[in-house]
């Protein structure tokens, strides 16, 4: 259990660090995909099959491809000429450290860490579907509406503009 966790955590961390450190943006996306896959494997390790597979389906299958397409459409595929460390990396790391400290403090304060964890339950698909379709049906519908609106917006943006004939 712990060995598997350590390997997966190292994989996830390596992927995400490489995503930040690499020069070529496409390489960054591929490394980030490795990080996503590692996260999915961590979910599976926790017994959350549905979340794990959805993570692969959405992040590896769709988000990574989307990111790659955006990069290729907005700039040439060659490596960017900027240095790896931007000019404000000090400020950035201070902000990141501050966020981490606040989150860690909140988690430690909540008494969650000292609790005795119940034995892990195999999160089956059935209760998740039940909760989505009964308990949380309104949030689900609102999400659907939002996504539909976003999709229509994207279609409108991509439509050919009417040619103005003089």
């Amino acid at each position: 259990m712990t060995v598997t966790f350590l390997i997966l955590a190292a994989l996830t961390l390596a992927g995400t660090v490489a995503a930040m450190a690499m020069r070529n943006l496409i390489h960054c996306v591929l490394a980030l995909t490795l990080g996503f896959a590692g996260l999915a494997a961590l979910y599976l390790l926790l017994g959350a099959q549905f979340v794990g597979f959805t993570q692969v389906l959405v992040y590896v299958g769709a988000v990574a491809i989307l990111a790659v397409f955006v990069i290729m459409m907005t700039q040439s595929a060659g490596p960017a000429m900027q240095p790896i460390f931007s000019s404000f990396w000090m400020t950035g790391s201070v902000v990141a450290a501050a966020v981490f400290v606040v989150l860690a403090w909140a988690i430690c304060r909540s008494g969650f860490a000292s609790q005795v964890l119940p034995p892990p339950v195999e999160a089956a698909v059935h209760p998740i579907g039940d909760a989505l379709m009964h308990g949380y049906v309104l949030p689900l519908e609102i999400m659907g509406l939002l996504l539909t609106a976003a999709m229509i917006g994207a279609v409108v943006l991509a439509m050919h503009e009417k040619r103005r004939t003089p």
Partner: protein, 398 residues
């Protein structure tokens, strides 16, 4: 039939399962589960790689027959050892990598493709009690693993630094993403009917009989429509003719694997065929009753034989279609996906709901068929409007 005969039939049916148990039972307890898993993995890899070899011969010979030529007939009896010769050839060929290519990504792409293709077989029940893992979310796993293929295709196309391969990859990804939507939506009707995402329980649900007739989902209006839509989307997902634009030999030469040679090219070939087998096997699992026999009096034939018979039948249909239909144009492909396939799969979801809530009987059949056929005709009519279909006249070619 006597009891001993039933036992003998059951033994033959479960021969692989029992022999696997017997093989691992001598090992220490902590190694048993992992070694039985490794045995299953080896079996899957061997069987489906062999099926790939057989399919290449069948396809080349079948296509040759349809095109009035011989096809391979030199190596072995009737050319059936051709895959061996091809394998040796691809192993001994030089592995060319373009100088400007992204070496690591170029190397990883075929590996990821074959890996993703093989991963999908983990949840496919090839016989009674013959599945590697019975996942709670098996169907979801199948589609999640299938989406890795898109990434591999992109890696191949982009890392080659070749405009044709990039074009091919772009086409392939656009096509795969567009057809993944109807593929998943077409399979949702089965999940609705079975109430489970586990492939094993979906097959178990179809493995019973009324009289001699089986309870396959394909024998319902929504099941038949779902099966047809699923197979069309599966053809597009596996980049086969008439949806083979990503390869498009006459336009972009070979698409995303143009810069691959030797064994890496063979790996792409293998991955593509394995993907086709996996989606066909999923169609069998979802709609055609998996390993279940088509009639109740044929259940004495072992379940794995039924599964592979159905698989080979679907493969033959794929070959037949490849030899018959011309390639689509890119805009036709896209408009077909979004304007016909997507509305029809959504409608099919609705029809499956109607079927579920109506009382059983002839009325339910008529209502569901009418709900499916009438919109399909109306939709195709309205899509045809404004397009002129006539014999083309070429000014210089005639």
């Amino acid at each position: 039939m006597t009891l001993s005969m039933f036992q003998a039939i059951d033994q033959i049916d479960q021969i692989f399962v029992t022999s696997q148990h017997r093989l691992v039972s001598d090992l220490p307890a902590e190694f048993q589960s992992i070694s039985s898993a490794i045995l299953s993995v080896i079996a899957i890899v061997l069987v489906f790689a062999l099926l790939f070899a057989i399919t290449t011969v069948l396809e080349r010979k079948g296509l040759g027959r349809m095109q009035n030529r011989y096809g391979p007939n030199r190596v072995g009896p009737c050319g059936f050892f051709q895959p061996l010769a091809d394998g040796v050839k691809s192993l001994t060929k030089e592995d060319l990598v373009p100088r400007t290519a992204d070496q690591l990504v170029h190397f990883l792409a075929p590996v990821l493709l074959v890996m993703a293709a093989f991963l999908a077989y983990a949840v496919l029940p090839v016989g009674r009690n013959m599945v590697l893992v019975n996942l709670n979310a098996g169907v979801l796993y199948f589609f999640a693993v299938g989406s890795l293929v898109e990434l591999a295709v992109f890696m191949a196309g982009w890392s080659s630094r070749n405009k044709y391969s990039l074009l091919g990859a772009m086409r392939a990804i656009a096509q795969m993403i567009s057809y993944e939507v109807p593929l998943v939506l077409a399979s949702i009707v089965v999940i609705m009917a079975a109430g489970s995402l586990s492939t094993v329980s979906i097959v178990d649900m179809q493995a019973s009989y009324t009289g001699i007739w089986p309870h396959w989902f394909v024998f319902t209006p929504w099941g038949f429509a779902g099966f047809a839509l699923f197979m069309i989307a599966a053809t597009a997902e596996s980049n086969r003719s008439p949806f083979d634009l990503p390869e498009g030999e006459s336009e972009i030469i070979a698409g995303y694997y143009i810069e691959y040679s030797g064994f890496k090219f063979a790996l792409f070939f293998l991955g593509e065929y394995l993907g086709m087998f996996a989606t066909s096997a999923m169609a069998i699992t979802l709609f055609l009753g998996g390993w279940a026999a088509p009639f109740s009096f044929l259940t004495w034939i072992p379940s794995y034989l039924w599964f592979f018979a159905k698989l080979v039948l679907l493969i033959l249909i794929f070959i037949w279609i490849r030899g018959t239909l011309p390639r689509l144009r890119m805009d036709q492909l896209m408009s077909f996906a979004w304007q016909f396939m997507l509305p029809m799969t959504l409608l099919n979801l609705f029809v499956a709901g109607v079927w579920h809530f109506m009382p059983a009987g002839i009325v339910r059949w008529l209502v569901c068929i009418a709900l499916l056929v009438a919109p399909a005709i109306l939709l195709s009519r309205s899509l045809k409007q404004g397009k002129k279909f006539a014999v083309r006249h070429y000014r210089f070619a005639e």
